[in-house]
């Protein structure tokens, strides 16, 4: 089932008079950069989910909040769908444009407006890169904690829209835990401040609701983030296992010992070999699985925890345990993990990255299920796992030049997500639903729950102009999708007519 916007099941989009729209944009905002012809639009056809692209009707690149407000008012008045885009690094097609809509590119909002080291917060424009915040805070011994792997390129506005994570979530939380205040512009052009510089705000917690709402409720125009003091020290222990289930159990044992590692990552044999070939991190290529356990904090505590972790790992049956001897080796250990995706990219023409989450105890069963599916679909799967917080990134290896392989990879991916939902997990831990996992939402949520999501959307965007078709599927789409995936002989959504 193609994921590009399909009016038959995703809802009819308003017809936009392009000439009138462009003319009124020029008239209302003479200084606004508007792209609306051929080659100019090319770079904006897709985001990080590059298998899918659509040419937008027009691209606008405002650089003031007032311009954003005017654009939104105009689009609201003329019924023009608006898709917002930050750095375009998203992996779920959240910024995939619409032919019948404009793409609102926030990249020019790239200034750090204020950094207060004593209050430990920074107020930034949404186009500021995630890593740039930590770099600016670094001279004060501070940093911004969430570190998605795209952090050198991804923007903070996109991080808010997706509730981005990273490898340190178990201890330091997601984006939602690390922001204080977000200013948004609604589709009606209203500027709202959600949250505050204080630790809470009166009324409903719209900041929590807005974080991760994938551009469906409003557009981020300013973000105030919390900054944390950099940990005094960080150590990495690498443990090898001859059996992936043992490695999985060791993760639970570490937590049971009362230790919350800064990062706790697992890789399977295929990813270990791919990463080692590429980075020469010093990984044991014969191991069935490795665990990377980072402990950070005050020197003496980290030292004591390293000893505890070592004991736990020995008891859990690790075949080899290595503490990174120095900072260079620690960086190498991490480089292997952080480059696991491109490393896998070297051993396969294409790969498709999944993002399901599961309760950790379900890991052995889910891994066996993935192995079984991998055989069934004759596609290799490399497993990289944020083991501490239960976020799996199975990488499905395929060759897009082989007819039908992309479709097979996608089907295998959807099956893996079904598995995650079956064991009580989620179809996405940090990449978002976007357009990519729109059908899998029908597996995770019941029709009444989806209806509630649509109701929430209506409170902010009654006309449904903001990022239509993303994040929450229509019940019609689920009915159609359900018709293709009959579970246990019963059709889900029996109350809906089929097309």
């Amino acid at each position: 089932m193609n994921i590009l916007y399909d009016e038959r099941v995703d809802g009819v989009l308003p017809r936009v008079d392009k000439t009138r729209l462009i003319a009124s944009l020029h008239e209302a905002l003479p200084g606004l950069l508007v792209l609306h012809e051929g080659e100019d639009l090319k770079p904006y056809e897709c985001d990080g989910l590059s298998a899918y692209s659509t040419t937008p009707m027009a691209v606008v690149l405002p650089d003031t909040v007032e311009q954003v407000q005017t654009i939104m008012r105009l689009c609201h008045a003329q019924n023009v769908p608006v898709v917002a885009r930050g750095a375009g690094t998203g992996l779920s097609g959240g910024a995939l444009p619409l032919e019948q809509g404009i793409l609102l590119v926030m990249a020019r909002f790239n200034k750090i407006l204020e950094l207060d080291p004593d209050a430990r917060r920074a107020r930034v424009q949404p186009g500021v890169r995630n890593l740039a915040i930590s770099q600016a805070a670094s001279p004060y011994g501070l940093y911004y904690a969430p570190d998605p792997s795209s952090q050198i390129a991804c923007s903070i506005g996109g991080n808010v829209a997706e509730n981005a994570g990273g490898v340190h979530c178990l201890k330091y939380g997601l984006t939602v835990h690390n922001i204080l205040k977000v200013d948004i512009v609604t589709i009606e052009g209203e500027r709202l401040t959600l949250g505050s510089e204080a630790l809470d705000s009166p009324g409903f917690d719209l900041l929590a609701l807005f974080t991760g709402s994938e551009g469906l409720l409003g557009v981020v125009v300013e973000v105030t983030v919390k900054l944390l003091p950099k940990p005094q020290t960080a150590k990495v222990v690498m443990a090898s296992f001859d059996n992936i289930e043992k490695a999985g159990r060791a993760v639970g044992d570490i937590i049971a010992a009362g230790i919350i590692p800064g990062g706790l990552e697992m890789m399977d044999n295929l990813s270990i070999r791919a990463a080692e070939d590429f980075i020469h991190a010093g990984y044991p290529v014969d191991a069935e699985a490795i665990l990377l356990c980072e402990l950070d904090g005050v020197e003496s505590d980290v030292h004591a925890d390293c000893d505890r972790v070592r004991q736990v790992l020995e008891k859990a049956g690790a075949t080899e345990i290595r503490l990174a001897r120095d900072e260079a080796e620690r960086q190498r250990f991490w480089a292997g993990r952080k480059n696991a995706f491109p490393a896998v990219g070297r051993i396969s023409p294409d790969y498709y990255c999944m993002d399901g989450t599961i309760p950790r105890r379900a890991l052995p069963g889910v891994l066996r299920g993935i192995e079984e599916l991998s055989r069934q679909y004759s596609l290799r799967v490399a497993n990289v796992f944020h083991a501490g917080d239960g976020n799996m990134h199975p990488l499905i290896l395929f060759d897009a030049n082989q007819p039908g392989e992309l479709e097979r990879a996608e089907e295998l991916g959807a099956k893996i997500l079904d598995l995650c939902v079956e064991v009580g997990g989620s179809i996405t831990g940090e990449h978002g639903v976007g357009r990519e996992k729109i059908n899998s939402m029908c597996t995770q949520f019941k029709p009444d729950e989806l209806t509630m999501f649509h109701a929430v959307k209506k409170a902010f965007d009654e006309k449904g102009l903001l990022n239509p078709g993303k994040n929450v599927p229509t019940l019609h789409r689920c009915a159609e999708f359900g018709g293709m995936h009959v579970h246990h002989g019963k059709l889900p959504f029996p109350e809906l007519e089929r097309f």
């Binding site: 207060d116 080291p117 004593d118 209050a119 430990r120 917060r121 997706e162 509730n163 979530c169 178990l170 939380g173 997601l174 939602v176 709202l192 505050s196 510089e197 204080a198 630790l199 809470d200 009166p202 009324g203 409903f204 917690d205 609701l209 991760g212 709402s213 003091p229 009362g258 919350i260 904090g297 005050v298 003496s300 505590d301 004591a304 989450t357 309760p359 950790r360 105890r361 917080d389 239960g390 009580g424 997990g425 989620s426 179809i427 996405t428 831990g429 940090e430 639903v433 939402m441 995770q444 019941k446 009444d448 729950e449 509630m452 999501f453 929430v456 959307k457 209506k458 409170a459 902010f460």
Partner: protein
């Protein structure tokens, strides 16, 4: 197990009560232990008591997640975690013996550890909720990371029951720190705030900090080494650990002052403010308790000027407890309420007359 602690699933009867209320267009006053009844505006409505719906549904300490029915007493949940060396890091106040888990989520108040560990909403992973259409739905789940759909679970935290009847909640829990030490240091408020800002940027493992006008009180939590060295560095006198519970539960002498109690929520590193009344600082200055008979408008203006807001904890006819919202923000909050609770059943007017 006696009747008060036996596990019991009363979701169906709660749902039936909501369905009846929809039919009769009868507003509901949702209650647990009623320990926080006086916080917020009074609600006229038929009582919906959640306390029969109780018990821990699942708790696996190695997953760091507990799922609990909202009618469960908060003490019972805390005891179950304690037995496994774990805790609710947000350290929620009870404000009375019968406090329930549902009341903790609905009010969203957090204790002294909040600035360092996070708030109640930060630890919410999933909820089950009876909606304004009488459906019993599930949002979020038992996993740490979940960005599918809108995050309605965290929205429900602190919503004072105005958006639905929360029946079940999954919370992230954490191991208790290995070591904890509390200290009392006689320095004035101004110097205390400077010290705190300095320690915050260094590796001092703070987990609570208050100032009563005479002395600074701090709690340090972490490994044995970090706590010991921080104690050496800070100095002062040892303080009994139960000070923090007395502060959290408003049992310190400060709270017996007969004047109305206000809560000022302020940005980090807000300097000493010239407030009309007596002040007890918590959250390293980000939460200031104020006993004052000054006009609400005066106190709200002072809080706003400092970038924060003020809530009145002492109920009195004619005084709004919550800080007024900007008109545009109120409009969207009202639209959200209308969408989620179209018949206006749940705790109408508890937060604001319009919600």
């Amino acid at each position: 197990m006696d009747a008060m602690t036996a596990s019991h699933d009363a979701a169906q009867s709660l749902q039936d009560e909501v369905l009846q209320a929809i039919e009769k267009r009868q507003a509901l006053r949702i209650r647990g232990g009623d320990s926080k009844r006086n916080l917020g505006r009074p609600v006229e409505g038929k009582e919906l008591d959640t306390r029969a719906h109780r018990g821990i549904v699942t708790y696996d300490p190695t997953e760091l997640v507990v799922t609990v029915r909202t009618g469960t007493s908060l003490s019972e949940l805390e005891a179950a975690l304690e037995a496994n060396g774990q805790m609710l890091p947000c350290e929620p106040p009870h404000y009375g013996e019968g406090a329930t888990v549902g009341g903790m989520i609905a009010t969203g108040f957090s204790g002294p550890r909040r600035p360092w560990a996070g708030s109640v909403r930060d630890f919410v992973l999933g909820t089950r909720v009876i909606t304004g259409e009488g459906k019993h739905l599930r949002f979020g789940g038992e996993v740490m990371k979940n960005v599918a759909g809108y995050d309605l679970s965290r929205l429900l935290a602190g919503s004072f029951g105005c958006l639905g009847v929360i029946t079940e909640v999954s919370l992230k829990v954490l191991p208790k720190p290995r070591q904890s030490a509390s200290l009392r240091l006689e320095i004035d408020t101004h110097r205390a705030l400077i010290k705190l800002a300095e320690w915050e940027r260094q590796a001092i493992p703070l987990s609570a900090a208050s100032h009563d006008g005479t002395a600074l009180y701090v709690r340090l939590e972490g490994g044995e080494g970090s706590v010991a060295s921080a104690c050496d560095r800070i100095g002062g006198d040892r303080l009994p650990a139960d000070y923090w519970e007395a502060l959290r539960e408003h049992r310190l002498d400060f709270f017996s002052d007969p004047r109305p109690l206000w809560r000022l929520s302020l940005p980090n590193h807000t300097p000493v403010l010239d407030l009309p009344g007596s002040v007890l600082m918590d959250w390293a200055g980000a939460q200031r308790w104020l006993k004052s008979s000054s006009a609400a408008a005066t106190l709200r203006r002072l809080a706003e000027q400092a970038g924060g807001h003020a809530m009145c904890f002492t109920s009195e006819a004619g005084r709004e407890p919550f800080h007024p919202l900007a008109p545009a923000l109120l409009r969207y909050q009202r639209q959200l309420k209308q969408q989620m609770d179209p018949h206006g059943l749940f705790n109408p007017g508890r937060l604001y007359a319009e919600l």
